[in-house]
């Protein structure tokens, strides 16, 4: 815990944003989360630059290997060390305060070190030449060695990094959540805003933990088997089953798809928890907790097997029955989303809201999430999938869901920021962040989808043909706006004022949730 606090303090620029308030005695729920959030922002800064580099290398007609290097590093850094780590940092702090249990022990620092060392190892491997995209594209990592594209050493380092990240996401984080929700002893002094599992704002956190643990287990098994072979511990005959591309592809998407869904369940749950705190008439309740919980249950049940939509275009190798099932389940998740739209709109309509930057970030993130959901269900229809799979539409969907989820988490972070640091951010600057982010995200997202509609392939270092470059310029422009929004946020967090000296401005200056 003291290590976490001193690491934050010793980090230039980023450390100042998340310097933990040690006057409240809440370090046990603040210290490690603050360090994770800070680390996630460092990864974000790096991957933003890599993201801008992608259209830039195409516009400037630079070497294609630069594009594939930036592509692999950008996707990997955004998905795991940035968004997942941000979510774990904010999520653990939130749960700690809601159930009155400390965010300490072996698993918490374990998560931090596994995630960040894993991220660094994977980055080193990419710099050594391993360009497999964040989707791994197995068996490409192995074929790349046979065709002389990268070395065995880079693969071993890269897979070691991926394994550390997977352990942190699939095991350490979910087990910590389950431990806090069901086992650890409650401590009165840490209980800021009591919530039970009946509360939709807490239910989703538990659901997501089980989803990650259960849906991730097969991938972890397969990845471990391959890694033990790469380390020369097991002979190939023992792991041949795991090295089958079909096995790997399926366990990968069972996990990767449900990872995204778990992140969605968690953030929708956090939205359900945060919105009522900003209701204008002082009511601290959703329009209906039952409809809110129903939406989470529908999302949970339908999302588990909708991953088949990743495989429609291998027809007929994917049996039609499984394709139909994936198609129908994908639209089932949208029924859950429709109920969520209802609950959030009805809550706002009935009670009015105080439009603080934290809440506005959450709500605009929700807008992005629903806009993306529409693109997701369209490519999850079997017929459309044959025109859109493998195009920029898919890249746009992946990017948009992550951008939406991260904005909602940043909103939740802004809400909890005073408790963690004892400081508040500037409201006007906070609104600028929300505005720029929304414009950048909608613009970039739409540019990606239009590019996909025009037939532009994703993960493809040759944009200058068929008139596709216009989308490249749009992606660059909106990408820069998105980056600017973070510059505004970073400056705001750096200049945040102490709660006592700031003018009280509603919930964002309240110590408890």
């Amino acid at each position: 815990m003291t290590i976490a606090i001193s690491m934050v303090r010793r980090t230039p620029f980023f450390g100042k944003m998340f310097n933990v308030d040690t006057s409240t005695g809440l370090e046990e729920i603040n210290a490690w989360p603050a360090l994770m959030i800070m680390a996630s922002f460092i990864w974000l800064a790096v991957s933003l630059l890599l993201g801008i580099a992608l259209p830039a290398t195409q516009i400037l007609e630079l070497d294609s290997s630069l594009f594939y290097t930036a592509m692999t590093a950008h996707g990997a850094a955004m998905a795991f060390p940035f968004i997942f780590q941000l979510m774990v940092g904010v999520g653990l702090h939130r749960i700690g305060g809601c159930v009155g249990k400390p965010v300490t022990g072996i698993l918490v620092p374990g998560f931090f070190w596994f995630m960040n060392i894993g991220g660094i190892l994977f980055t080193i491997a990419i710099l050594m030449g391993l360009k497999i995209s964040y989707a791994v594209m197995y068996p490409l990592p192995v074929v790349g060695i046979q065709t002389g594209q990268w070395s065995m050493t880079s693969l071993i380092i890269g897979f070691s990094g991926i394994a550390l990240i997977l352990v942190s996401v699939i095991v350490l984080y979910p087990v910590q959540i389950i431990k806090m929700l069901f086992f650890d002893k409650q401590r009165e002094e840490l209980l800021l805003s009591p919530r039970s599992l009946k509360d939709p704002g807490m239910l989703g956190m538990a659901m997501a933990a089980f989803v990650l643990l259960i849906m991730g287990a097969p991938l972890l098994t397969v990845a471990s088997a391959v890694l033990l072979y790469l380390y020369n511990i097991l002979p190939f005959a023992w792991i041949a089953w795991a090295a089958d591309p079909t096995v790997f592809q399926f366990v990968f998407y069972i996990f990767a798809h449900n990872l995204m869904e778990a992140m969605a369940i968690m953030i929708i749950s956090a939205v359900y928890a945060t919105l009522p705190l900003y209701l204008a008439d002082g009511t601290r309740k959703l329009y209906s907790d039952r409809i809110a919980s129903l939406a989470l249950w529908i999302l949970l049940v339908t999302s588990v097997t909708s991953f088949f939509h990743h495989f429609f275009t291998m027809y007929p190798a994917l049996p039609s029955a499984l394709a139909y099932h994936g198609n129908i389940m994908s639209y089932g998740t949208a029924i859950g989303a429709a109920l969520t739209i209802f609950t959030i709109s009805a809550t706002i309509w009935k009670h009015g809201i105080r439009a603080e930057p934290g809440l506005m970030a959450v709500l605009m993130g929700f807008v992005l999430y629903i806009l993306d959901g529409a693109s997701a269900i369209i490519t999850s229809n079997i017929s459309w999938s044959f025109q859109l799979h493998g195009t920029m539409w898919q890249a746009g969907h992946t990017m948009a869901v992550l951008v939406a989820v991260s904005m909602m988490w940043i909103g939740v972070l802004i809400h909890h920021y005073p408790v963690i640091t004892g400081r508040v951010i500037d409201k006007a600057s906070g609104n600028w962040f929300v505005t720029l982010y929304t414009i950048g995200a909608i613009g970039a997202g739409t540019a990606f989808l239009a590019a996909g509609a025009a037939g532009m392939p994703r993960r493809f270092a040759s944009w200058n043909q068929e008139g596709w470059m216009v989308y490249g310029y749009l992606i660059l422009i909106f990408g820069i706006i998105l980056t600017l929004s973070f510059v505004v946020l970073f400056i705001n967090l750096n200049k945040s004022k102490e709660v006592a000296s700031a003018v009280p401005s509603g919930p964002s200056s309240m110590p408890a949730e």
Binding site: M137, G352, I353, V367
Partner: protein, 188 residues
């Protein structure tokens, strides 16, 4: 119209906007109207909200059912079954993908010819994306090595040079993995 909606990327994009634009207008209206007012509850009574909920959910489910039922007509399995049932001659074409090129058993076709592309990859995951001469994607197939052949029936409707591109990332020269098919007007 149906053909445009289900058989082109821009058709999908149109449906996307039809879902996105009403949502964004409605939601922003709710947020900014209720966020810019003096903090006080709206007088709306619960029964009217409940009625709106029922209308909204019925509308959503209906739209989803219609979209998906109509789309069945364009499923590759249905297109294939129709071609077989019509008694047309289906011309077999074999495709083998390997980093970073294709081996295609036949590359010249006539307008009106119905072809079954049977494709596989011998090394890593590749794609077989067929582009119409206008640049529109006709279909893409994902070729995972070892899982069995992907196969799709297609009838060429226009003459011209059709481009083939790999749409699954496959390494350093992925963007150079392409080929061409030439379709000429039928003689009769």
């Amino acid at each position: 119209m149906q053909e445009f909606i289900y058989q082109s990327g821009w058709g999908a994009f149109t449906v996307l906007l039809l879902m996105q634009i009403p949502f964004i207008l409605f939601f922003l209206f709710v947020v900014f109207r209720q966020g810019s007012k003096k903090p006080s509850p709206s007088p709306t009574i619960d029964t009217s909200i409940t009625r709106l909920k029922n209308i909204w959910m019925v509308a959503v489910v209906t739209i989803f059912v219609v979209i998906n039922v109509v789309s069945i007509k364009y499923f590759p399995s249905v297109v294939e079954a129709q071609a077989e049932a019509s008694g047309l001659e289906i011309h077999p074409v074999n495709v083998t993908a390997e980093s970073w090129s294709y081996d295609i058993s036949q590359t010249e076709f006539k307008v009106g010819q119905t072809v079954r592309f049977t494709a596989k990859s011998t090394d890593t995951v590749h794609g077989f994306g067929l582009y119409h001469p206008t640049g529109k994607i006709l279909f893409t197939m994902m070729l995972i090595p070892g899982i069995g052949d992907a196969s799709l029936v297609h009838t060429f409707k226009d003459s011209g040079t059709y481009k083939i591109r790999c749409l699954e990332y496959c390494g350093a020269s992925h963007h150079e993995m392409s080929d061409e098919l030439v379709v000429t007007a039928s003689s009769n």
